[in-house]
């Protein structure tokens, strides 16, 4: 197993980065955090585009940085997908893909054959002879992923791969990434500030705030027990996979949620913010609501609010004020009614 090990400090304008983590081969780590938290800096440190002040970066046996000695980026074989693609405008798509193999010593013909193989594998054949300026944002980002893969990297780093895209393209590229990332055998890192992206693409999530990692866990672990206010706000959302049809989403175990959008069909990702989950001691009445009964598992106190984990046909977390907690007399083991408005349920198609 070739794991990517990062343990570095770096002083940057405005903040100090101090991070330590490991990504196993065949696994995806999401670096999730607000802008300016040090996510992109971490990517640049691993790729060798900037150097840390101290620490160690290694990919298996290959030491990228240790004791002030840095391996140049071109020798690291770390593929990087940049937020705004950075495709070479003077080369067509095929030659953008061939650039990596050419730089590593392949003949022109061999490099082009390799480029065509990747275009084929990723379903981008139609774009081969186009210039980057002729591509849409979604196409350009898929080509950028293909270019990184075609250079035969041993680790793959994606720096906010979706944030430059509009909503429609974002969903397409996200499912493209979900499909093709798992075929890449080395360690993978996705930088994002969107919890949904992290949940859909990563096996583990590292929450990075102010240059430091405040929590590393599986998406489920972070969702159940966010380690900070920020994490709670960002990833403490309820997430379910399901199948949508006619304004209903089947989320498994026979449980169905009513949603506002009646047009969406097929596989979807459903998000419900904990603050949108209402808790009642008796069955709430009226309006097209989702209501069901559940048992309180646990209550976490996060300052001015409490997170209530609930069991039941659909495990869910609610966020309510301490006053409401007391008012409802909530305690582990108590059975309550849950209510979620159809309009408060986010639905995103995952397959196109």
């Amino acid at each position: 197993m070739t794991a990517l090990q990062v343990d570095v400090t770096a002083a940057r304008p405005g903040f100090a980065l101090d991070v330590s983590f490991e990504v196993e081969a065949g696994h995806t780590l999401a670096l999730l955090g607000p802008n300016g938290a040090g996510k992109s800096t971490t990517i640049e440190l691993i790729a060798g585009l900037i150097q840390p002040d101290s620490g160690r970066v290694a990919l298996g046996e290959a030491v990228f940085y240790a004791d002030g000695v840095a391996m140049p980026p071109e020798q690291r074989r770390v593929g990087v997908v940049f937020q705004d693609y950075v495709l070479f405008p003077h080369l067509d798509v095929r030659d953008n893909l061939a650039f990596g193999p050419r730089s590593r010593g392949a003949t022109n013909r061999a490099a082009r054959t390799q480029a065509e193989t990747w275009l084929d594998r990723l379903g981008l054949n139609d774009l081969a002879r186009k210039r980057p300026s002729e591509l849409s944002g979604g196409q350009a980002q898929r080509v950028a992923v293909a270019r990184a893969l075609a250079s035969d990297p041993r680790a793959l780093l994606l720096d906010e791969p979706l944030s430059a895209l509009d909503v429609g393209a974002r969903a397409q590229v996200r499912s493209f990434l979900a499909r093709h990332l798992k075929d890449f055998p080395g360690p993978r890192i996705v930088v994002t500030h969107e919890p949904t992206e992290a949940f859909m693409l990563a096996d583990r999530i590292a929450i990075i705030e102010g240059g430091a990692i405040t929590q590393i866990d599986t998406p489920e672990g972070i969702r159940r027990a966010p380690g900070s206010r920020y994490a709670a706000d960002l990833v403490g959302i309820n997430l379910y996979r399901g199948a949508a049809h006619d304004g209903q989403v089947d989320v498994g175990d026979g449980h169905t949620l009513t949603i506002a959008d009646t047009g969406v069909r097929g596989d979807v990702l459903v998000t419900i913010h904990p603050r949108a989950v209402g808790l009642y001691t008796t069955q709430p009445e009226g309006s097209p609501r989702n209501t069901w009964q559940a048992t309180v598992l646990d209550i976490q106190h996060l300052g001015d609010r409490n997170r209530v984990d609930l069991d039941g046909p659909l495990g869910i977390t609610a966020e309510i004020t301490p006053a409401a907690t007391t008012g409802l007399g909530l305690a582990p083991g108590l059975t309550v009614w849950i209510s979620v408005k159809a309009t408060e349920i986010g639905v995103q198609a995952t397959d196109r």
Binding site: L49, P72, E74, R76, F88, F99, R102, S151
Partner: protein
């Protein structure tokens, strides 16, 4: 935008200051005898020598100037601004002073010229090599300034992306940086060539005015003004035409800043 009326008079005078001499030159040119005048031995020699030396100087400026521009644009070191000022000095220095400086450096007794002469017997001043050297001296800054601006405006992440794809610094420079600044390379080279073609002061000081050997087009015009006005006009027309073609070709790249 509406222009204040007070701007019009000086603006028109300024235009006239440049336009009237050029028009006068064209009006006085003996167009019917142009072929004969340009076909004279002196004219043919000057035209040939100018073509050769200006192209050689442009080539030398390219080979030496592009690396200089790349280093100035992409590296950070102490004294970089002093270096940049030094390289642009020939743009503002009186060419005669440049020619004198070249004599002290590359003359037979010069700091570099003397060892060169003793080792090889080569004498640079008053030779076509001297013309090329003087032309390169005045033309180099035009290329360096133009190409440096081109590289500095290029997002360095293209080079970073090339590095992550396995390209070493030389490959990245050759296959990413240079192709992406092609417009600046073209503009810089053409400007350097045009400046070399029009060179007078440094050339006459360093290389002299030997017909057929160091007498370039501008020198031939100067000499002909004393002896054969029509020949001077004919040669001037050639220089005006070349200059106009260059400026029209570069109009978008050079003065709109791209």
């Amino acid at each position: 935008m509406r222009h204040p009326r007070a701007l019009w008079l000086p603006a028109v005078l300024g235009l006239a200051l440049v336009g009237i001499p050029v028009v006068s030159l064209l009006v006085r040119t003996p167009w019917s005898r142009l072929g004969d005048l340009l076909g004279s031995d002196i004219a043919v020699q000057a035209l040939g020598l100018s073509a050769l030396t200006s192209l050689a100087a442009a080539a030398a400026a390219f080979v030496l100037g592009v690396p200089l521009a790349a280093i100035l644009a992409r590296s950070r070191f102490r004294g970089r601004s002093v270096l940049r000022a030094l390289i642009t000095l020939p743009m503002v220095l009186p060419p005669v002073v440049g020619g004198a400086a070249l004599l002290y450096a590359f003359g037979r007794r010069g700091t570099v010229g003397e060892p060169i002469y003793e080792a090889t017997g080569l004498v640079l001043p008053f030779s076509p090599w001297g013309v090329i050297l003087a032309n390169t001296f005045v033309a180099l800054p035009f290329l360096v300034v133009t190409v440096e601006a081109g590289i500095r405006n290029l997002d360095s992440r293209y080079e970073s992306a090339a590095a992550t794809l396995g390209a070493g610094p030389w490959t990245a420079f050759r296959r990413v940086t240079l192709p992406m600044v092609t417009p600046a390379l073209l503009a810089g080279t053409v400007l350097a060539w045009a400046r070399a073609l029009g060179e007078f002061g440094a050339t006459v000081t360093f290389a002299g005015n030997l017909a057929g050997r160091t007498q370039t087009l501008p020198l031939a015009v100067f000499v002909a003004l004393e002896q054969d006005r029509d020949a001077a006009l004919a040669l001037s027309v050639v220089l005006v035409a070349v200059s106009l073609v260059v400026l029209v070709a570069l109009r978008d790249r050079w003065w709109t800043g791209r």
